[in-house]
Point group: C2
Chain length 464, copies 2
């Protein structure tokens, strides 16, 4: 059972004229921004609609729905799983001109925005009121709130604030048939039965287009402290024990807990001052932040660790960014080696590093595999497994599919997720069955069928 895309037709020249009557900003030329994605792959978008109101969104959708034309939904086009890759000829609907900051209730921290607003612009507006977004990610300068909601963005503050979903107070969403769902609650506490807005959060644009949102925003805290420590031993007795200690001692002020394995640390280079350059084991970055000084908490945490553990603390901006830089340098260094196979997965913490070890055991001796590293937001069970391929060799599809199968089979066995943060899009669609039982996939399709019976929204993506 496929959710409907079979009945879709290609975009015709007459659609351009018809759509222009429904939406003031319709483009067919200079649309390269919409026909390519993050990794440079090209997509089959023929027309771009850039509505300025929910009515225009609704009218364009109604037209496409009744005509059987596929629609690709665009936020900032910063996704990493091909979510904007249209296979057939399609219409793009971009929310970029629906980007107004509508209201802020300072005492509750609830901000109301149009979803084309760029994350960083929202953060800057919030900062005036000593508030911030409950999530943050590298793409902040170009990703949109709508895209963040549609993908239930994770990011670096998850360990502190939990999923974005937890902070969404309300949304407005337009369905494939043009119906506008006003799910704009004004309070976080709203227990009126089934919470329909939840199905749109994380649905990657396949059930509707989110046009407005109300988000709970926490206070922006000034105090921050970062420790980078070096641990020797196995993952469980070092990294996980340290995480437990961090939760106990830093507690509610813990805002990041990241790890890099020894292979990764070796690649990045000597750890900052005072640490063993001949590194083996794990490097862990711990951040505390709060409404009052958190230095004591970091100190107390470090005191609880075995004497053999070496660490360096940064409490001023410069030293903190130096320590973060160490962590951020790893994917850059990996990319410089050659093409990277990247896996963004989550696993129960105890099983997390066994995957890296297993993959290393299986592939490390192949001449075309240069380096296998594990790093990530271990506090959330989120592992980034990156495998650098030697550019002297041709890409080998059978190696890649074998490795993908090994990784996702292990994830499946452990009950983990094949996509911790980045979503499914087009790239992980075929692997979805590793994470979801058949019956769950069936009911998901039924939900899609109910809300988008013609399957016009992001066809061929996210829903298997």
């Amino acid at each position: 059972m496929q959710a409907g895309p079979c009945i879709l037709r290609a975009v015709r020249p007459s659609d351009f004229k018809n759509l222009s009557a429904l939406c003031a900003d319709i483009k067919v030329r200079d649309i390269e921004r919409y026909t390519s994605e993050w990794f440079g792959r090209t997509s089959n978008i023929k027309v771009v609609a850039r509505p300025r109101s929910v009515h225009e969104v609704s009218d364009v959708l109604k037209y496409c729905n009744s005509s059987g034309i596929g629609v690709t939904v665009f936020g900032g086009n910063t996704g990493l799983v091909g979510g904007t890759m249209a296979e057939r000829s399609e219409v793009a609907i971009s929310t970029e001109f629906m980007n107004r900051f509508l209201e802020i209730d300072v005492s509750s921290g609830i901000a109301t925005v149009e979803t084309g607003l760029i994350l960083q612009n929202l953060q800057e507006r919030l900062a005036i009121h000593h508030l911030t977004t409950p999530y943050d990610l590298g793409a902040r300068g170009s990703c949109t709130i709508g895209g963040n909601l549609a993908t239930n963005a994770g990011g670096i503050n998850f360990i502190r604030h939990g999923p974005l979903r937890a902070h969404v107070v309300g949304i407005e969403a337009v369905l494939a048939n043009g119906d506008v769902l006003d799910l704009m609650s004004k309070s976080r506490k709203d227990n009126c039965g089934i919470d329909l807005k939840q199905i749109f959060i994380g649905s990657e644009g396949t059930l509707g287009i989110i046009t407005k949102a109300r988000i709970h925003c926490p206070s922006l805290h000034q105090y921050r402290s970062v420790a980078l420590i070096s641990l020797k031993g196995d993952f469980t007795s070092t990294v996980l024990e340290t995480l437990k200690k961090a939760k106990e001692t830093i507690g509610e002020s813990l805002s990041a807990f990241e790890f890099i394995d020894g292979e990764g640390a070796e690649l990045v280079g000597p750890l900052p001052s005072g640490m063993d350059p001949k590194y083996s084991g794990f490097a862990v970055l711990v951040e505390a932040s709060g409404s009052a000084s958190v230095s004591d908490k970091i100190e107390n945490f470090l005191e609880q660790l075995p004497d053999s553990v070496e660490g360096v603390v940064g409490s001023d901006l410069e030293s903190m960014s130096k320590l973060w830089h160490y962590r951020e340098l790893l994917p850059v260094k990996m990319a410089s080696l050659g093409h990277n196979l990247k896996y963004d997965i989550s696993l129960p913490q105890r099983e997390l590093y066994k995957l890296v070890e297993g993959i290393r055991l299986r592939y490390a001796n192949r001449p075309d595999v240069l380096k296998i590293v594990g790093y990530g937001h271990v506090g959330d069970g989120n592992l980034h497994l990156n495998v650098a391929l030697d550019p002297q060799f041709e890409r080998n599809p059978s190696l890649e599919s074998d490795m993908s199968h090994s990784v996702y089979s292990y994830v499946s066995e452990c009950g983990g997720s094949i996509s911790a943060e980045h979503g499914i899009g087009r790239d992980k669609l075929e692997q979805l069955f590793f994470s979801k039982p058949t019956v769950v996939l069936e009911y998901t399709r039924a939900l899609k069928k109910m809300l988008d019976p013609n399957g016009i929204l992001n066809p061929g993506r996210t829903i298997l």
Copy 2:
């Protein structure tokens, strides 16, 4: 369009025998616990099934679904909105014997349980590992995890941990037709498209029975400090300004922010030591808790308040519980006056207290209205408006429906919620349209129809 209950038939004697073949524990006698609810109203339950496995749950549901018999789902039966009140003759399915604590992953804090487990029992098991549940409520000694999930329980730690939903890692749910949905992720970060488990959380048993759950549990912190302060002036410039200060200064360690209005404080009696007994204005209780001492944060917070503000701080167990007792005494004192009309609503914070003032203006001079008080979890926009009626007068349905209409119309105008914590059940069903637009109600019904086409689950409740 009603979601199907019209086709349901009454329970017959033969059903008892048939159900006994499917589930070992079927009762038709001594079932008073299931035929009455919190307020003592009686319900039309004829047979009680107490399955011990998901297979038994599935088989009983399959039977009821194919026979067209209504089912009422029981957790701890502690709900306050008549969610277990069966109008027609129905079968009860109680999860009470599916109450095993299955697993805990200490480093991630993720606990796996059967959903008949009582909240307090889970809390006690977690405490061994210095963990606790991400929510807490008065009914902890008898409410079940399944009931908490089905109602998306709020409670007193919402301001710290957000909605229960944010901490649900996975669930197993059985649909009306007996299909078992395995939505048991093992990691909080799991972005594989549409998150189907979300529709069951808060659905009050109308879409399926939640039989298993995996919940993220935060660290149990030892340090706590409470302040009770007395504020004079209007709500916005006192309570809301104080809330803003608390968020800025106590920040991530803020774990409760409760208010009681002057009428309420007058009823409870003089505020603890050193405070003006002739009270007018507002009493605010602020709690900080954390992994290290929070006394400095409370002190710093109090220093930021105007000199005229009086307050008392409790940092040892006895003085803290004395201060909490002050807050908890209010509903008890109100109940002692006579029958209470109780409204559990949420509103944008700036509009919150205007409702109490408006209701007081409209009804305070009526001889049968004794006292109108406002109190609640103001940090979450949650207002408890209680109206004590004079027992010397007969209950007056027209007064009650007029007041209900006034309250909910105001809530509707402000975009608030007619049920902040307690849900809809039977009691708030007719008022649902005050909080939800027609089109949202329609799609909610369509979702119900898709998952429970015969409408056997909790008929006549939650879904309008």
